[in-house]
Amino acid sequence: MRKYLARRAIYAAVTLLGVSLSIFAILRVLPGDPLVAILGVEGHAQMKPADRVRIMADLGLSDPLPIQYVRWLGDIGAGKLGKSFFRGDTVAELIRHRGPISAEIGVLALMVSWLVGLPVGILSAFRPNSLPDGLARALSVLFIAIPGFWLGILVVLALLFWFGYKAPIIIVQLWQSPWQNFQIVAGPAVVLGLAQGAYIARMSRSCLLEVISEDFVRTARAKGVREWLVVMRHALPNALLPVITISGVLLGFVLGGSVAVEQAFGVPGLGRALVTAVIERDIIVVQNLVLFYAVIFVAVNVLVDLSYAWLDPRIRYG
């Protein structure tokens, strides 16, 4: 197990190194002059050449690219994530301040998706092609198609009409006021969770049906185990593994989707910070935040792999 863990960690580290290199390449090499990217073509043209040189040097953008890249990695290693070009905040502050709320949304969304998706999937598989099954499948097909941010806009609109909902302007952290914090994160978490729940329902249904046709389930039925126990005790644990795997992938949807859903709800989370940075062409912030999202995504997938290896004794680590 320890060997497997080490190998998985090394793989992840190599992937992340590649990730950092591609972010760097996308943001520095592709557009040519980063100042044009920051200031726009017009702003760049209005600037004096001397100013351009000074700003480039200030930002550390005039060094050769390999040196810039290595220095970036070194800074990350030292815990310095750079500063916004337009505001005073450092990226580390941004993550500390806005990260928790986005993390809460992500975790809650994942919980919602399991709490909704799994029971629906089980119900579907319990009586395949029955009316509840048909309804559940129709709903999951629908919720997979509905874009989360649109559902978010509609929910906000409804809340606005009926309850006078206002978008949160300031961040209320969980430890400051749990109730107010919950009001901020509940909406985005449910909206994101429902879409993922639809995938989970679909996946758990098809996996359960696959497992139910196996011999050991027939044996369980033959020896007179009650039907719901057959499903819950014998079939479900074997059907859950792929559902866990898909959760890792779904987290990618949640991470990406939360960016748009936070925007829809007006939640000042990390996703909105990223959107603002992209619109303002704040290269340093974008570079570090995108890397941060990728690190989380990779880390979660490592965790999913490990839990998979841990839950499934057939997988030998080595």
Partner: protein
């Protein structure tokens, strides 16, 4: 021709829902193509006497903040949306599939390195990667297409690679090799044709995803720039006011949902028909193929 009609009839009988999805998809494509004829008004023309009007007889789906007709903008929005989605999916899936064929057929070091590169590409959440790329290369139509296409490459690569891996072991491929055909020739004439069915399945499955990413980019203000009417841009417009007009928020999103739903249903049917083996394993393979 008659053969095709028969096949279609059989497909519709067996997959009523996907046939319906295909029909709706066709209607939306038709609406996109015929937008200048169908749209009652110019989608770009502001009318300051009719700003923020709820749906009425003059503009069936209401008007936006500067008095542009929502119905016309939704119809024109289908153009951008479908054009971006089709181009991006065809570009990304094709590049990914060709890459996958090469990986699966050549194996060895090339495959190993390619797999790592695809893993790196999949280490980004789709939307975030697309945002970063479209920021780097500018926010025009081609930039958005390119950005979405990049995110589709590893999916094509992984699925088609696994197909190529199994096809390469077949006797007829070996016969081709034995008769002295070059690797390129074997890949092009023996392996590639076997990949067409999964390619079609992949492409339809990803159309919906591409449409949603395009809309999300537009909604976040980093997609095809305004005033081009896109569904995402319209949704972005809908939340700028203090009291958002519901019709401006509702109809573009409904258009996205119906389109995605139609293509997803069609994709499910095509998958079941062309490649029944793929169905249960397909999702798992899409999830990164970690459990190979």
């Amino acid at each position: 021709m008659k053969q095709l009609a028969l096949e279609l009839a059989r497909f519709s009988r067996r997959n009523t829902l996907s046939a319906l999805g295909g029909l709706i998809g066709l209607l939306i494509v038709f609406a996109a193509v015929a937008a200048p004829v169908l749209a009652p008004r110019d989608p770009l023309k502001a009318d300051f006497r009719r700003m923020n009007k709820p749906p009425d007889a003059q503009s069936l789906l209401g008007t936006d903040q500067v008095g542009r007709d929502t119905l016309s903008r939704v119809i024109y929005g289908a153009r951008t949306s479908l054009f971006v989605a089709f181009s991006a999916v065809i570009l990304g899936t094709t590049v990914g599939s060709l890459w996958g064929v090469a990986c699966g057929y050549l194996r060895g070091r090339f495959d190993l390195v390619s797999q790592r590169i695809m893993e790196i590409m999949q280490a980004f959440p789709d939307l975030i990667l697309a945002m970063a790329i479209s920021m780097a290369i500018g926010t025009g139509l081609p930039a958005v297409i390119f950005a979405i296409a990049i995110t589709r490459i590893p999916f094509g690569g992984r699925v088609i690679r696994s197909v190529a891996l199994s096809v390469r072991e077949m006797p007829y491929v070996e016969a081709g090799r034995a008769s002295g055909a070059t690797a390129l020739r074997v890949m092009a004439f023996h392996v590639l044709p076997q990949c067409i069915a999964p390619y079609l399945v992949l492409a339809t499955t990803h159309l919906g995803v591409a449409i949603v990413i395009e809309a999300a980019l537009g909604f976040l203000g980093v997609g095809v720039p305004p005033p081009t009417p896109t569904w995402g841009n319209m949704l972005a417009d809908s939340i700028t006011g203090l009291v958002p007009p519901w019709w401006l928020a509702f109809y573009p999103g409904l258009a996205i949902t119906v389109t995605v739903l139609a293509f997803n249903l069609l994709g499910d049917g095509i998958r079941d028909t062309l490649d029944p083996r793929l169905s249960p394993a397909f999702l798992r393979m899409m999830t990164g193929g970690r459990r190979a």
